[in-house]
Symmetry: C2
Subunit: 327 residues, 2 copies
């Protein structure tokens, strides 16, 4: 669907206007980028829809506000940008309690304040289902055009991720299926799912250290990596044993842990590709784990091959997959 | 509802950050405004929700795209701004045809091109009901901070509107109730409802001529005037006989014509207040009719009194109302 829209929008809008000349990245990416005099501006929009992206059974109104804003902030993080303002479009059932809406805003404000992001506007409509659409506006940190994109990967690049994966998806599973764990695990998974932290500072660090290619892991490692591969017209090999599964997930989800780390979304960690020298340099500059999990190769565009540590095909227990074609 | 959110957001976000210092108009208005170095930036967001703001019985997918973008563009027009980029967040049922989505985009692109506005991004989600949320980004025309706001009306100001009112609401009624008119009337009302033109150039003209207070008529004359009155802490007298009812509405809707012009939304004309000298100056600079319909007065905040040409209370036939309290 989105590919078609990109085509329609690009063809129809290829005009020599000021807006068109200043545009750097348009429709098709999670974040739009344009030059405004000496500055590079960024804008990202994300929707959170009831019974599609969340249910009120697992997510309180305040958590919902946090998560809705986190999704757009993470898009800015994936560019290495500095978020600044947010606009919120709320569609809410007519019988929504005023307190619930206040809680929703409090959740957004609390997260926003961690990054000096202010909610500056939006609109409110009635709707049978809750739909929260957040637009985050920001800019690059410096005045130059150095941003992280999906399309700059090169054969030979290492593929790396920040932090640990799988905890948000495990948290959703725990809440949805009422799984019981020890209090510490339970609190940790709950927080990973309900209060994800967009990697704003890490995105800026990647830019500073010369990384050119990144995406945030919102849909899941495999899915988001495939966005980079398609945009860069390349393929990838992932050594599954190196994927940094969150310790709480590894300890409590048995065979399923790898699947959660590979396919579970909403961790909002950053996935990036760069030469091993650059990855090493990033590693020395942060206390957050940076883990190399594979290599960018020039093979069938968009294909991801899973391998074990002996370079043999790795078979995912649940699905039997060992590679993922273009998606 | 929105007042409460404004309060929550303002109290929680009153911080001394760069983003806060550069912000000119935050949450509570249709458009957010901030200074970015030498430039004043604007952002407006609007949602179009199925069965709330439109039905597919009256509106084709292409018209829907046009109307959804028109709503946000009109918010920028009401500030006197120059729109530049749009982000579109689409929530669509899973069985939506690809052609319908392409048509939707075509409608947006067609309207956008009239103002050199480019669609630069957005996201697509699945949802049982269509929800189109558009964010338009722009800036002021000059480098100074002169924009139109809702809060700058003064006692003694004339209240004026651009163009004619009631045709969009009459068009909706015609389509919804399958009313039959002569082909010319039918085409005119249809166009007013399905292809409204945001008054971008007129908004800029108002700024240039020294107008300080304006709003776009999206909800209806009475409703939008009350936003100005509340923001400016004033009240208004409207001489009903002077309201410029669209000729096609006047000729075909009998007694109901006045009601449609006073309360019908989506005409996207501009409502503004200024001294009579300034209104006269605006009038000489445009071929579009500019009509003075009443006065700003200092009485009960937010109150609108309808009068006839002898300054007697005017009673709306349908509702029996002759004044509107704060809403």
């Amino acid at each position: 669907m989105i590919e078609q829209l990109v085509k329609v929008a690009c063809e129809a809008q290829a005009k020599e206007t000021i807006a068109a000349r200043q545009l750097v990245i348009g429709i098709g990416d999670d974040t739009a980028v344009w030059c405004n005099d000496a500055r590079v501006e960024l804008a990202a929009v994300d929707s959170f829809i009831q019974n599609v992206h969340f249910t009120l059974a697992e997510t309180s109104w305040k958590d919902l506000g946090w998560k809705a804003l986190a999704a757009s902030l993470s898009d800015i993080a994936a560019m290495g940008g500095v978020p600044k303002y947010a606009l919120v479009s709320l569609a809410l059932p007519g019988d929504t309690e005023a307190k619930d809406v206040t809680d929703l805003y409090q959740g957004m404000i609390e997260l926003g304040q961690q990054f000096d992001v202010i909610i500056v506007g939006g609109d409110t409509s009635s709707s049978p289902l809750i739909n929260i659409s957040t637009t985050v506006l920001g800019s690059t940190k410096g005045q130059n055009l150095h941003i992280l994109t999906r399309s700059a990967a090169e054969p030979g690049d290492k593929i790396a991720v920040t932090g640990y994966l799988g905890a948000a998806a495990a948290g959703l599973k725990m809440l949805g299926k009422h799984l019981i764990f020890d209090p510490e695990t339970s609190a940790c998974l709950r927080k990973a799912f309900l209060h994800p932290k967009p990697r704003i500072a890490k995105g800026q660090l990647l830019v500073e250290q010369g990384v050119k290619t990144a995406i945030d892991i919102s849909d899941g490692l495999i899915s988001d990596l495939s966005h980079i591969l398609k945009a860069s017209q390349l393929s990838a090999r992932i050594e599954v044993g190196r994927v940094p599964i969150h310790p709480a997930v590894k300890a409590n989800f048995g065979d399923e842990a790898t699947e959660l780390a590979l396919s579970g979304g909403e961790d909002y960690e950053l996935l990036f590709t760069a030469s091993s020298q650059i990855v090493d340099r990033v590693n020395t500059k942060t206390s957050l784990p940076i883990t190399v999990i594979g290599d960018i190769i020039a093979d069938k565009i968009g294909e991801i091959t899973l391998i074990d540590k002996d370079q043999k095909p790795y078979i995912l227990k649940k699905t039997g997959w060992n590679h993922f074609g273009p998606r």
